[in-house]
Amino acid sequence: MNYSDKLNQVENSNDDTDSQAQTLGQPLSDFLLQLEDYTPTVPDAVTAHFLHSSGFEPKDPRLLRLISIAAQKFISDIANDALQHCKMRSSNSSSSHSSSRSKGSKDRRYCLTMEDLTPALAEFGITIKKPHYYV
């Protein structure tokens, strides 16, 4: 029973992934319809300029918005990862130094530095090495 249940579960999961793979385009095309009333943070004209420089000129302006949202999410994911790193550091330092002091209010102001960004980008497969100063 358990074995057959497990098999069923595996088959079901496989079916799910197949169905997901086949209908991958549909959610996005539905999504396009919803895009008309949503304005991404990156302005359309700016996205259009950079896409034009690569030769990508869509007739449908919703494609522009789709790409700008994808780019926005890309940056947002990296920022979230960096925020996790930053919070880990601040929690480590605060727990090691003094936990009684109310450092929480001061640490609420997070600063994104290269120290936090580098490991966050490394998880995405992007290695960054920037010199600290230029001579």
Partner: protein, 284 residues
């Protein structure tokens, strides 16, 4: 062209800043901001390039959503969470750019109409600046350096000056009338101040002034020793200064006094017409 690119990059930087604020960061390093801007620009260019390639691969010119999806897949971007991402947070929309108009301010300082471009200059080139910026108009006539004109000018000025001076003296000094009636004073004559005795200057000719003390009538010392306001005081002082000249007889002193008295008679109380007074060192 570079300025346009800088502008677009600046807009990207602003968008990234707003995304970071949404994430929870308050400040960010300059390096990090530059890095993220570069990454975003590369992402956009890359997805555009890849989608375009897929589009052309399938024999089309205009990209479709499928090309974009394939582009995402090739780049390894997970777009399954896009819908959730959009619905989840309320993302800030950047305010539209205000078009800067510095040109308007410059036009306010416009003085005169700009000249049109001449025929040999194409029209797409910028127009001329305001005419006062490059056209020199002399504000006054060139002076006349003609010898005759200058001589004539000088003569006219001299004549006018003499006329004015004589008129002034007529107004201020005692005058004689040509006619008997006092009313019609059309031709006033400046009264002559006779010295007593009249032939004294003829008897004592003076070509040069060697010793100021020998002078009977020294205009400078008279002016210095006379305060403008009090007449009586000036008379006494004047007599005092004249006492210092030991060479003179009493007669001459009396003569001087008499002569000076007449001159003192016409002394003016008006401070504007009185002689200039040196700053007082002592009681004088």
């Amino acid at each position: 062209m570079e300025q346009q690119q800088n502008m677009y990059r600046k807009m990207l930087t602003v968008a990234i800043s707003s995304i970071l604020i949404e994430t929870g960061f308050d400040t960010v390093d300059k390096d990090v901001l530059g890095t993220l801007t570069e990454m975003l620009q590369c992402f956009l260019c890359e997805i555009g390039s890849v989608s375009k390639n897929y589009c052309e691969l399938s024999g089309r010119i205009e990209p479709v959503i499928a090309d974009v999806i394939l582009g995402f897949v090739e780049m390894g971007v997970d777009f399954s969470g896009l819908q959730q991402y959009v619905k989840g947070n309320k993302h800030t929309v950047l305010p539209p750019l205000q078009p800067q108009q510095p040109q308007k301010q410059m036009n306010m300082l416009q003085a005169g109409t700009k000249q049109s471009l001449p025929n040999h200059i194409p029209q797409h080139l910028p127009s001329f600046p305001d005419p006062h910026a490059y056209i020199r108009t002399p504000t006054h006539k060139q002076p006349v350096i003609d010898y005759e004109a200058i001589r004539e000018k000088y003569a006219v000025q001299k004549k006018d000056m003499e006329k004015a001076l004589t008129k002034f003296l007529c107004r201020t000094n005692p005058t004689h009338n040509l006619f008997d009636n006092e009313e019609a004073n059309i031709f006033p004559l400046i009264a002559c101040k006779p010295t007593f005795p009249p032939y004294l200057s003829a008897l004592l000719p003076q070509d040069q002034i060697f010793d100021p003390e020998d002078l009977e009538y020294d205009p400078k010392s008279q002016i210095q020793n006379q305060p403008a306001r009090k007449r009586i005081r000036s008379e006494s002082k004047h007599s005092d200064t004249k006492m210092q000249t030991d060479d003179e007889d009493e007669n001459q002193e009396g003569l001087n006094k008499g002569g000076e008295k007449e001159s003192l008679n016409w002394e003016i109380d008006n401070p504007y017409l009185a002689a200039t007074k040196l700053p007082s060192k002592g009681n004088d």
